[in-house]
Assembly symmetry: C2
Amino acid sequence: MSTSAPTAGATATVVFQPDGKRISVKTGLSLLEAAKKAGVGIRSECGGLGICGKCRIVALTKSGLSPLMEIEKEHLTKHDMKAGYRLACCSRVMDDVTVSIPEESRLETRKILVKGLEKHISLDPTVHKIHVTVPHPVISDVRADLERVLDQLGGLSAQLEIDLNLLQQLPRTLREAGWDITLTIWNGQRIIAVESGNTTNRVYGIAVDIGTSKIIGYLIDLTTGKLVNVESLENPQIIHGEDIISRISSTMRNQEKLEELGKLAVEGVNRVIHETCEKASIKPRDAYEMTVVGNTAMHHIFLGIQPKYLALSPYVPVIRRSINLRAKELGVDINPTGNIHVLPVIAGFVGADAVADVLATGIYEAEGLCLLLDIGTNTEVIVGNKDDILTCSCASGPAFEGVHIKHGIKAVSGAIERIRIDPRSYEVTYKTVNGKKPIGLCGSAVVDALAEMLKAQIIDWRGKFNEKIDTPRVRRVKGLTEFLIASKDETGTGEDITMTQEDIREVQLAKAAIYTGCAILMKRKKIVEDAIEKVVLAGAFGNYLNPVSSKIIGLIPDVSTKKIKFVGNAAGSGARMALLSRGMRETAQAISRRARYLELATDPDFKTEFASAMYLPHRNLNRFQSAKSVSK
Amino acid sequence: MSTSAPTAGATATVVFQPDGKRISVKTGLSLLEAAKKAGVGIRSECGGLGICGKCRIVALTKSGLSPLMEIEKEHLTKHDMKAGYRLACCSRVMDDVTVSIPEESRLETRKILVKGLEKHISLDPTVHKIHVTVPHPVISDVRADLERVLDQLGGLSAQLEIDLNLLQQLPRTLREAGWDITLTIWNGQRIIAVESGNTTNRVYGIAVDIGTSKIIGYLIDLTTGKLVNVESLENPQIIHGEDIISRISSTMRNQEKLEELGKLAVEGVNRVIHETCEKASIKPRDAYEMTVVGNTAMHHIFLGIQPKYLALSPYVPVIRRSINLRAKELGVDINPTGNIHVLPVIAGFVGADAVADVLATGIYEAEGLCLLLDIGTNTEVIVGNKDDILTCSCASGPAFEGVHIKHGIKAVSGAIERIRIDPRSYEVTYKTVNGKKPIGLCGSAVVDALAEMLKAQIIDWRGKFNEKIDTPRVRRVKGLTEFLIASKDETGTGEDITMTQEDIREVQLAKAAIYTGCAILMKRKKIVEDAIEKVVLAGAFGNYLNPVSSKIIGLIPDVSTKKIKFVGNAAGSGARMALLSRGMRETAQAISRRARYLELATDPDFKTEFASAMYLPHRNLNRFQSAKSVSK
């Protein structure tokens, strides 16, 4: 059902006390909306319809707000009105104004655990439930079912929209429920469920991170903001290729492949929904909202959008901004009229996961410059703070996921995850996942291996084996030099685990790609390492990485180790924040709009930078002061 | 994609010159919207997005509008700005203000032919097309497809929503079209089509009147407002009963019946769409908007909403207000992303057709009181003017459609439509449809017959045959008295055509039902016949009725014949107005909200009034001064 056409207007400044936060907004905007934009949490349980009366504020300046409305008088006493109390949802900003938010109107904030960081955000989900008892129709009151329900809500509820399928069910639901129902309202603008009796204690949401390898689901109680359950599953698209490019290629051949991949993504998401809900004894129908993050390719495929132009120069996505969809439109198994909010992307290879990373880590509001790396087959690199966000994507390849490394494996049980090499005896000590017998090298071990070999001068700064070294661990097999890490009598596979000259080359290519991204962004930002206040490593791999080894091989810029933070799945945390808070969605949208994208492949410095970064740690050792003693 | 939650605010008065029309609106509203509300036509080809620059107005008061926006400067010269020119879509009303609308910004008005009345309305459809040439993506410009298109529109287009299916097709459409496309925008808020090349000359809409018996479709060119073609078909639901109640009853037995009836309604509408388009060589895809009117039962069934509570006391509808739907949601064969606008209803038996009647006849804005009758199996009676609209529904039954009348038929070829009886010789003269041999009596003839028999004192004011009358035309057949209208040697059926005592009783019941509605509404409005300035007869039957005969038998109140207007299918005209003008939709909504509904069956005066109205013309002859000489 229609709303008026959009229009634009003048601006005014609102100051929120006692914090003193200020924001410039278009006149005509409600204080509630203005507060949300300013990141100031004001309570509201009706989505701004003047129904709940919880958004009480005090006007501190005489003018600047629209006059008192009739519906406000239902919630305010004469004493309140004299004292300047207003409802934030009913007060429009007409001119510069200062308001105070009393304690009782402040939104409780929820702690979101982003590993290594901590964010407090206001609980302000898009979904609210309202329990209403509706008078039966009688001959002296023959209002239509829908208008009868809406009249009961009061306030501005006549503007609420409703989907046809709910309208079709409405007469039966109302009568079967004996006119005692609970309405679920989305974003103060649409009725998305009509349920029998009082179900206000059941309001759930799910945040989903669709990764190339894994799909993770976070089930959240939207009445408290608490995390109820987390589950993760392998992305079933994996049968069409481990990496993004091979999946995109498969869709380019025919349209059905795109549909098949899309269906697999939705199936995967549905499996995650069912598992997270089932284990918590919650019905998926009681989840009314889902937020989704993922790289741009996963984002497009999930939405049934052809991703092929992501893989063809100039690599443009089809849509950047966020999208809201009905769950049933995509076949997602939350409440069918529930909403799917897909976060915005930045560019063809900087996706909604990167936006969520920035959101979760708070880079967008940081004073000091941060460098964020989300390492994967494609590594997103972001340099920025509150003033500017510059992004790029590096084709780092799957070496750190164990692919193209002779004994490379994922971080499964028995994977070697840490390695030390004695620089005198060349003896190797290592640590495996779960302490099992070693069966291969995971990404962090590969990085350690290179760093330790470099320190022990087993390899030189070009990554070549030192021919003068004298240890049986360095040997030639079938014309290829390799270093023995674990011999077959100690491994779980009965085979030697080694690192070959070719493996070293793969790691060099991967780390050069990532470092080149960092270096070029820093160059474009005209900064050096010292200007970076924090290096944030996001993603599963980042979590296991040894920061010292990383610096020794030149994977990341040479910053003080204590500046390095590991934040785990920040993309998932960002998706959760967007689920809990409408303001966070607007922030995500603003991040996507503000962020600049740099295409590395066509940067004039790319080739030189990449060639220099192939060295361990780098051809220009001035950039790696801390590694100077180790290398060359 | 979401918009902000609704809020409310202060009000201000806008005066539009040179007409001097004034309206009080909420501050923050754009002048374009305010003009629409005031019924003042301002041109706009972009739906208020600041794109087209056609909505130029001149501010005559210094303050009262929001400050000049950047996008306005794209359309206004320095000279314009000095002279006070603004774009109406970009100027928000902040305080009382007077503006002038120059000639070039005035909407052309279109004449809508409502038979016997004439309405001029401003052409302001919801659908607009914009042709854009979009720059190709290159490595130095990697904006996403959607944002690239929206950026090209400028203005406020970033707020435009788009459906998922269009988004899915967007990359292919853009590239196949060589980035030269036409966007169709609905109500300035949603992209509903993306087409290759320039298709701005093809914008059609269809207005549909779903009657119990017939479905009528009006195909309209929305670029000019001109009627291109009209077609009507029998409502295929007729296989489930001729009247509404039997169709509702069939849905009460099982849900599948409801779905079947709904499907039949949609199929009927689709056949009308295809026929109207085909004969005009227009593709149904090029119709982007459809407006629908119908009685409340047809309205519910078309929307797949259970109509059973319309037939059960207290006869409440499920929804009153208007609805906008995607064509594909209902399976309607206009452009699948196109919009279906279903007009609002008033009550269980006063439907969207009655709202359209009021809209088309202009009763809602009339100074003097009007009495509107839309005669059918259910007859809607409406008394009102600009200050108040009071409605009721009368169970008049199908007598005027020929049902339950021994020789009753519809107004087909050969139906007797006019009758005169010589009061001395009792000879009958008649007129048939198309001058064919008579085959039966249609509704208007039945009314004539009663009036003429009354005048000739063949029957008395109780409807009984006068036993003293001496003519072979009055005879007893099988114990029942009847009057011979046409003998078998002159008819096309080879049988006598007569009017029996039972027929007379049926007509008395029907006319009593209708008159009772009129009488009770007048009583509740505390008015007598003289207060009525106009009696409007709408609907197919009304068109053929002899007003004098109608007054003689007391079917309608006794007003001067020159006050009686026949308006034909006013409901269809109302649907066309809503298709041509967004303002008319708001008016329809306001009519539905304002109109009061009176339940006749439970009115304390109903029984007495009905019993009195069974007399010809009425027990109380003071109400029928003009018939006094005829009756008793």
